[in-house]
Amino acid sequence: MAKYLLLKHYRGAPASVNDVPMDQWTPEEISAHVQYMNDFAARLEETGEFVDSQALAAEGSFVRYDGEGRPPVTDGPFAETKDLIAGWMVIDVDSYERAVELAGELSAAPGKGGEPIHEWLELRPFLGAHPTVTECTLK
């Protein structure tokens, strides 16, 4: 049982195989894509592996502390930011292999021409809870 984050990037991931921006798809292709994502999440809920799924706006700002009594400083959005997260899905699965299998399925979401996008998804394990027995951890 381990949680994984499946990260979808606007920018920063290697190019997809079917790398056509969404605005050049037909409306039906967009609907088919959205349907695939919803079905995927619903299926994960049924298998008891779904934790969370969120999409992010493409533009955000940077914020930092600016000293006692002063309002925080904001900056951005930065058009040149190399790595831009589009959204994520969190899954709770029995193994790394299962996480890879699910990420592969998600990456097969249809894009232009109804063909799989083959999008690169970033798979990141959560830092888990500290196990009680560490002298010897049985598999």
Binding site: G48, V51, H130, V133, K139
Partner: protein, 381 residues
């Protein structure tokens, strides 16, 4: 009557419903309903016979649900006469439920969830909170698990080893939410030990008690890890240690050694040392050798290298470590520790940084980063 006492009646009540002919999935739902009702009603009006009360309420719930189901299907061949309760072999039922909930056809996470609900009597919400997943996800996990085991015969003996693995997983998860999973695992293992006479069940119970005894000392107030050698041994729970040792000794006396007994023996040797310096590392190495003969788990050899480092010096430890697969989690952390003991602070600091990067959990990562920082301060003086 408190919630844990109510929950402890879960497996025997569920067992009786199944024995009366209810199918497992429906009976389990009915027992859950009865438990919720008990928690609500018993505070003001505790029954004289709690188990009888639960059986009656759960059976009625089961019949109501079945009747509603049947009505939907327009069938009217239901027998709703309540069978006489009669004497039931409760220990057997309890044991069969453990087997069913840890059935090999289930994935580990499903077996854990089903065990906590059907044997532990926890609600889906409590289990979901403990594992930090949405309640809907946990509900699906449990109902899938029930479907998976729906065809399993309830009266066939199962495999104790699979049950122990499930309980061990629950114990090792620690605690989050309002359910203390470690304490729950101990309760469930204790209940199992009462239902079956098996040295490895006793071994696991002893192992859990011995580790649980150190819980208060294992974490500093700021949440950081306190390694065994630096723990305030005055904060160890001596009652839990004493109980664990007695259970372990009785198990070992039967001369059917298994992995959990060997692990518990190692934990007992640690618990037995008044100070870290007085730990009997030579005997611990011997137990690791026993353990290595019982399992091919490479983690055993990794931990053995640590023990060898304490018993025969860091060089010997490093030599033992050289024979262990270096892709194992914590391999680098062990190497860092042994190099520090050997006086090579520079190598140790570098390895601690690397080990922190590979750490599988937050507390351990922070601990290893602190070790690196501590050595870097010494090196810069």
């Amino acid at each position: 009557m408190n919630e844990i006492l109510i929950r402890s009646l879960t497996p025997s009540v569920l067992g009786i419903l199944v024995r009366r002919g209810a199918d497992f999935a429906a009976a389990e739902d009915a027992v859950q309903d009865a438990l919720v009702e008990a928690v609500r009603v018993w505070r003001d009006d505790p029954p004289r016979d709690p188990k009888g009360w639960l059986i009656t309420v759960a059976w009625r719930r089961f019949l109501d649900a079945t009747r509603a189901d049947t009505a939907r299907r327009r069938r009217e061949d239901l027998v709703d006469e309540e069978p006489a309760p009669g004497p039931a072999p409760a220990a057997d039922d309890t044991l069969q439920l453990y087997f069913l909930c840890a059935h090999p056809s289930l994935t580990p996470s499903s077996a854990v969830a089903l065990t906590l609900r059907a044997v532990g009597g926890l609600t889906t919400r409590q289990i979901a909170q403990a594992y930090l997943v949405p309640e809907a996800t946990m509900a699906q996990r449990i109902s899938r698990a029930k479907r998976t085991v729906s065809g399993v015969r309830f009266d066939r003996p199962g495999d104790v080893a699979t049950v122990l693995r499930v309980l061990y997983l629950v114990f090792n998860e620690g605690y989050s939410g309002d359910v203390d999973l470690a304490a729950e695992a101990i309760r469930l293992t204790r209940q199992l030990a009462a239902a079956i006479d098996h040295p490895e069940v006793a071994g696991l119970l002893a192992l859990m008690l011995l580790h649980h005894a150190r819980r208060a000392a294992r974490t500093a107030p700021d949440g950081s890890l306190v390694p065994l050698a630096e723990q305030d041994r005055g904060r160890w729970d001596t009652r839990a240690i004493a109980e664990g040792v007695v259970i372990l000794q009785a198990a070992l006396a039967r001369d059917r050694l298994g992995e959990f007994q060997a692990q518990a023996a190692i934990a007992a040797l640690h618990a037995d040392a008044p100070t870290a310096g007085e730990t009997d590392w030579v005997q611990i190495v011997e137990w690791y050798d026993e353990l290595a003969g019982l399992t091919d788990n490479p983690v055993v050899r990794l931990n053995r290298a640590v023990a060898v480092g304490e018993a025969d010096g860091p060089r010997a430890g490093l030599a033992a470590l050289a024979a262990v697969d270096d892709s194992l989690p914590r391999h680098t952390a062990v190497a860092a520790y042994l190099h520090e003991r050997d006086g090579d602070l520079k190598t140790a600091a570098r390895l601690y940084v690397e080990a922190a990067r590979k750490a599988p959990d937050l507390a351990e990562r922070d601990h290893l980063t602190r070790q690196a920082a501590r050595l870097n301060v010494r090196l810069s003086r």
